[in-house]
């Protein structure tokens, strides 16, 4: 298979997987077929989904370096954009279905609940990255693009903190994510040390 085909196939799989799962989730949630509390189920699914996709996008460049799979680089943006899309669905679901469009409660929660504030900061960073992922903008930005996109490490770290903080007592799952994150960041330690 040529690299072009591989890219094409992998992108197709990412589209089907990401769109398929989220559609299935919302379809079942709308029909009250997702457990007793579909709102909670949707928040969990989109939150964890966003983190999973972000982590996947961070696996790419270590893989490329290790195994010289430079074609893989071509799917990184798609994973990042889907991560943002899931995060967007997460935030919108929070506002629409959890808070139910109550604007003052929304702002109250964001200001008063540190774990939500952290989630919001993470979300804003992801939004900035998503907007500037457009090739035209990327070209215009030149060197500062990489600088801006290094903020992804802060965004994912904040997201995992937000996850950790939102949990009542069972911290195993967020801790597993912390470990994965630390491993992924350790591949890039040069980046952090150089500066």
């Amino acid at each position: 298979m040529s690299n072009q085909h591989k890219i094409w196939l992998l992108k197709l799989i990412i589209h089907l997987f990401s769109m398929g799962l989220i559609s299935l989730t919302y379809f079942n949630a709308l029909n009250d077929n997702l457990g007793a509390d579909p709102v909670e189920a949707v928040l969990h699914f989109t939150g964890i989904g966003a983190i999973n996709l972000l982590l996947l996008s961070l696996v790419i460049s270590p893989l490329v370096r290790q195994w010289k799979l430079s074609w893989l680089m071509q799917v990184r943006r798609l994973l990042g954009l889907y991560a943002f899309f899931y995060a967007l669905c997460h935030v919108l679901s929070f506002w629409a279905f959890e808070i139910q469009f109550n604007v003052s409660l929304f702002f109250e929660e964001i200001i008063e609940r540190p774990y939500i504030t952290v989630g919001l900061v993470s979300f804003m960073l992801l939004m900035a990255l998503a907007i500037t992922s457009w090739s035209k903008i990327k070209r215009k930005m030149g060197k500062s693009w990489q600088k801006l996109h290094n903020w992804v490490y802060l965004a994912i770290t904040l997201a995992v903190i937000h996850f950790y903080w939102s949990v009542k007592s069972d911290l195993t799952e967020p801790l597993i994510y912390f470990i994965i994150l630390v491993v992924l960041l350790s591949f890039r330690k040069n980046k952090f040390i150089r500066k």
């Binding site: 799962l21 299935l24 989730t25 919302y26 079942n28 949630a29 709308l30 029909n31 009250d32 077929n33 997702l34 457990g35 007793a36 509390d37 579909p38 709102v39 909670e40 189920a41 949707v42 969990h44 699914f45 964890i48 989904g49 999973n52 679901s93 279905f97 959890e98 808070i99 139910q100 109550n102 409660l105 109250e108 929660e109 008063e112 609940r113 540190p114 774990y115 903080w165 939102s166 009542k168 007592s169 069972d170 911290l171 195993t172 799952e173 597993i176 994510y177």
Partner: protein, 331 residues
């Protein structure tokens, strides 16, 4: 909200089927490895369940009781009441107890009532259903996590039991304890499954709270004995307090002189107090308690956010218990 007649909910065959569908749907998501890291590793195990999804469910039996006439709140469907539970002894996800508790053994059972009383007694499984007349109570149930349900419980007043054992003048508090049986309760065997709680789960009430007519020892819901995920065979229901006070699968009730330790208070004293009265004015440090989502029917689009009422709307019956207390301090 329209008043609902209880009888409408009495035939529950459909609802039981519904519940299976709920669980299967969740299973699909889990199988795809997206709900939680732990399940990423287990798609094959789930796949197996999936095709032979005839897992045995716990058998409940119909009860004789005095029915509640009618109520103003819309009931939470039975399928949801028995599939959305916080019972960390069986796992921390809301659907874990329904999945992991089906083989729980409730008969034989012993409930021991002792401590500062004249006539301590021990009730066996059958006694739980025959010692007192059973009645139905439809209560709002408000979880500290800001969701709520409306549930037709069946049981008897804790006050009747207390009358029977005759508390002494030194009985100032009532302490409760859940069964400790790690063989049956995976959360007690593994700290990871059990959410890092030190078991057995313990709870407590002040004696006047325990004697309040609203305080119920429940042995059933929706006309039948309790399923294990809801605390079979006997649990407490204190409708004006957050759900974690309503301790499940009780084996010991002890009358004591000093305020007893309570599980969530031990775990996070700044978040969960001994009193834990439903109070829209006092937020949980991490979320608002001013409103709640009422779980009834309707999917994602259900407009189910309602204002939380002081004492969960039972202020008339219980506010006098706390007259001179600063409820911000004693949360």
């Amino acid at each position: 909200m329209k008043p609902v007649k209880y009888s409408k909910y009495n035939e529950s065959e459909n609802q039981v089927t519904d519940e299976k569908i709920y669980r299967d749907r969740r299973q699909v998501l889990k199988s795809l490895g997206f709900v939680g890291a732990s399940s990423i590793l287990a798609p094959y195990a789930h796949g197996i369940d999936w095709f032979s999804s005839n897992k045995k469910t716990f058998e409940t039996s119909p009860l004789k009781y005095q029915a509640a006439s009618s109520i103003a709140d819309t009931l939470t469907p039975e399928a949801k009441v028995i599939s959305h539970n916080n019972f960390y002894e069986f796992g921390t996800a809301k659907n874990d107890p329904a999945e992991n508790a089906q083989s729980f053994k409730v008969d034989p059972w012993t409930l021991e009532i002792s401590g500062e009383c004249e006539k301590p007694i021990t009730l066996n499984y059958d006694d739980l259903f025959t010692t007192f007349d059973l009645q139905e109570r439809i209560y709002r149930f408000r979880c500290v996590e800001a969701w709520s349900m409306v549930i037709p419980w069946i049981g008897f007043q804790l006050s009747e039991l207390l009358k029977k054992v005759q508390p002494t003048s030194r009985a100032k508090y009532v302490a409760f304890e859940t069964l400790f049986d790690p063989q049956q309760m995976p959360g007690q065997k593994s700290r990871r499954i059990g959410g890092g709680i030190d078991y057995p789960y313990v709870e407590g009430l002040r004696i006047d709270e325990a004697q309040n007519p609203l305080t119920l020892l429940s042995v059933g819901l929706y006309g039948k004995t309790l399923p294990p995920q809801n605390g079979a065979p006997i649990r407490l229901v204190v409708p004006w307090k957050y759900g974690f006070k309503s301790i499940k699968s009780i084996v010991k009730i002890k009358l004591v002189e000093k305020m007893p330790p309570t599980t969530w208070n031990i775990l996070a004293p700044n978040e969960y107090g001994f009193y834990a009265n439903v109070n829209p004015q006092v937020d949980h440090p991490r979320w608002s308690q001013a409103s709640e989502r009422r779980i009834t029917t309707g999917g994602l689009l259900a407009r189910n956010r309602v204002a939380t009422l002081p004492f969960n709307g039972y202020g008339e019956q219980v506010a006098h218990l706390y007259k001179s207390m600063d409820l911000r301090k004693f949360y």
